[in-house]
């Protein structure tokens, strides 16, 4: 997808001031996720699970080539086509070939953040293919023409009433339709799509190397339909999704579901190991299975010794849910497919720091995300690494650089420091407000009073 992160502040401001209901919807939904997550982990040893998950993921990433080739071999044995795609254009070419070979006119899609990252829908539509998002949340934002606002809940920024309006306009449901009625309307339309589409597209939560199994977690059943009803299934799998052993999978399924929605495990888990009718594979299912192993910047991120740990991410969204910065705006402010704390650390790695600034600075450094990550990604530390690099590459503002140089000059000379403090106390507020940093402080806040004696002065007078 296109990256619009540079406008972060302007987008955030406009969301907060012009659509305050977004802040309310996102805050309410994320708080609910957080509560459910806490309940889900209350019944097990979270620390043990995350420590184990961290180590399995780190091991897989540091032996990535071997495990990917193992997965490929298992899949090919069962008749799947395995493609290696370095860039989004490579993925597009693979789809173009499949679409042309099979005369594909309709595609049903399971929710896949990777497909958003690759701008797959606009590409397919450009090929004249009709694309149906079949996850209800994705379907809603597809109708609205918006990108997802959350990794797990793409329409988290929308209220029930927003959905009523768009369904009323597009599907003719009553303006005051119940949630059940809305789901029924979507179901009717999507059932027809499932039965007529030639191609189903999914992502992949995990890819087990030992068995060549793609695991998919969902709650609606649409993924199972998308991957089994159409004649062809294409699974897009980020190369970082690999797990070494079959025995690893059950724990990752639990950790991911607990972290994402607080469920013990997703309502549906689909395990796909080959096309239908294949020897030793699936008794039924699509005639053709294509697995596209997607790099799109991941190898470069993996090779970066300071930030590679971000690739452990299982896309549970727990760091978004707990993030007080994310809660004020939802995901659209970030201008990048992955929002929130994790987006701000993988974005610079996948598409470049210059393109994703100022996302690493869109954090108050509160550290809440580090506490909830099920694979222990040190997100605050990684944010700081990207901040350092932004400074080193001269990408931060001159005002900030000058201000911090002045502070450093004064703070390493205690006489200057004391003198500067006294000066500040003498300056009237209207003068102080002309300094850029203080001007921005006075957006929404009164400036603090600096007219009393400093502690130094009190100490010199003697404290009784």
């Amino acid at each position: 997808m296109e990256v619009h992160s540079r406008d972060y502040r302007a987008r955030a401001r406009s969301i907060i001031t012009e659509t305050p209901e977004v802040r309310e919807a996102v805050t309410a939904a994320t708080q609910t996720f957080v509560e459910h997550r806490l309940e889900a982990f209350a019944e097990c040893d979270e620390h043990a699970l995350s420590g184990w998950a961290e180590r399995v993921k780190s091991h897989a990433l540091t032996h990535l080539g071997d495990y990917l080739e193992e997965a490929e071999a298992r899949l090919v044995e069962r008749g799947a086509h395995v493609h290696w795609a370095e860039t989004a254009s490579d993925v597009h070419r693979i789809f173009e070939t499949i679409v042309n070979e099979h005369g594909v006119q309709r595609v049903v899609k399971a929710k896949s953040m990777l497909s958003e990252e690759l701008s797959l829908n606009p590409f397919l539509e450009g090929c004249g293919v009709e694309v149906f998002e079949t996850d209800l949340g994705e379907y809603i934002i597809q109708l609205l023409g918006e990108p997802p606002s959350h990794i797990v809940g793409p329409s988290i920024h929308k209220s029930l009433d927003d959905t009523r309006v768009i369904f009323h306009e597009r599907l003719g449901t009553p303006r005051d339709a119940s949630p059940e009625r809305l789901a029924e309307a979507a179901r009717e339309l999507l059932r027809e799509a499932f039965l007529t589409a030639e191609l189903g597209v999914s992502g992949g939560n995990f890819l087990v190397a030992e068995t060549g199994s793609i695991a998919l977690i969902e709650n609606e059943g649409n993924i199972r339909l998308s991957t089994s009803v159409p004649r062809i299934h294409v699974a897009l799998v980020g190369i970082e999704k690999v797990l070494p052993r079959w025995a690893d999978l059950s724990t990752f399924l639990q950790v991911t579901a607990k972290s994402a929605t607080g469920q013990p495990v997703g309502t549906f888990v689909s395990i796909i190991q080959g096309p239908g009718g294949s020897s030793g594979g699936e008794p039924d299912g699509p005639e053709e299975l294509h697995v596209v192993l997607v790099d799109n910047g991941r190898t470069r991120l993996l090779a970066d010794p300071e930030v590679w740990e971000a690739l452990r991410c299982v896309r549970c969204g727990a760091c978004l849910n707990i993030c007080p910065v994310y809660r004020q705006t939802g995901g659209h402010a970030y201008g990048y497919v992955y929002s929130g704390p994790i987006g701000a650390v993988i974005g610079p790695g996948l598409v470049g720091l210059e393109e994703t600034l100022p996302l690493p600075f869109a954090s108050s450094a509160c550290g809440a995300c580090a506490d909830v990550c099920p694979v222990r990604i040190p997100i605050p530390h990684l944010l700081h690494v990207w901040r350092q690099r932004a400074v080193e590459r001269g990408l931060t503002s001159d005002v900030e650089r000058s201000a911090l140089r002045l502070l450093t000059f004064a703070a390493t000379r205690s006489r200057v420091f004391g003198w500067a403090g006294r000066m500040a106390a003498f300056l009237p507020e209207w003068v102080l407000r002309r300094f850029p940093l203080l001007r921005d402080w006075s957006i929404g806040r009164e400036t603090p009073k600096v007219d009393g004696p400093s502690f130094r002065e009190l100490w010199d007078e003697g404290i009784e």
């Binding site: 108050s364 809440a368 911090l404 203080l438 921005d440 009784e464």
Partner: protein, 234 residues
């Protein structure tokens, strides 16, 4: 026992009375307080914004200032976290880190104080946990216990552990989001007379926002609240 007070730059300029209260409190507990006059800023503003060489210069200065201190006590959670967790990385020495304590942490964990006095009898307070005190220092129970043992009623606040939105330069680089975060804190605040916190940055930010909105809420430094607990509010 002798401690060196690191008043911090915000403490020196904006919370001078609270820092003086910290001195009174420590002296009342038979602790000798020293104030090295050449202390300045710990370097956290530069560190948080990614300006590492500047942060290192300030850390070097501060470490030299407190080189001979038995204990460094700070009326600030985030500056303590800077000394404890960041200085070892910047300076390749954990000498200052090991001897630095946030005020309430020092009182409870080092001095073993369980009760300061009953000076907060009948007061209704909300406590804002600064993020770095809470998550980096693990200071959660100490201030709460000291305030409650002085008779204060700490009113439950669902957002008491959520970031207020200050975040150092974050507050001026992304002011609209920063202010929205403060609003979430203020809008969920229970009916209390005073909000207490160990962190000056949080207090300036929340107080600045509350005043802009015309909300009559009193914000108080933990050091002052603890001295009130000790001194009976006289």
């Amino acid at each position: 026992m002798r401690v060196s007070l690191f008043v911090t730059c915000l403490g020196d300029r904006f919370f001078a009375d609270a820092a003086a209260d910290a001195v009174r409190l420590l002296r009342s507990l038979d602790v000798e307080v020293d104030f090295p006059k050449n202390q300045t800023c710990c370097g956290q503003p530069a560190w948080n914004a990614g300006h590492v060489p500047q942060a290192r210069q300030m850390a070097t200065h501060t470490a030299a200032v407190f080189a001979d201190a038995d204990y460094v006590v700070l009326p600030s959670g985030s500056c303590t976290a800077m000394l404890r967790h960041t200085y070892p990385r910047l300076l390749e020495s954990s000498a200052v880190a090991e001897r630095s304590y946030e005020l309430a942490e020092f009182l409870v964990d080092v001095l073993g104080v369980t009760e300061l006095g009953r000076g907060l009898e009948g007061r209704r307070l909300a406590y804002h946990h600064g993020c770095h005190a809470l998550r980096e220092l693990g200071v959660e129970e100490q201030p709460v216990r000291l305030l409650e043992s002085a008779g204060a009623a700490l009113v439950p606040w669902e957002m008491d552990q959520e970031c207020c939105g200050f975040g150092g330069l974050f507050s001026v680089k992304t002011p609209e989001v920063s202010v929205a975060m403060a609003d979430r804190k203020l809008d969920t605040l229970p009916d209390v007379e005073t909000v207490v916190s160990a962190d000056g940055g949080c207090l300036l930010h929340l107080d600045g926002r509350a005043r802009r909105r015309g909300k009559p809420i009193r914000f108080q430094s933990l050091a002052s609240a603890l001295w009130e607990a000790r001194d009976g509010g006289a």
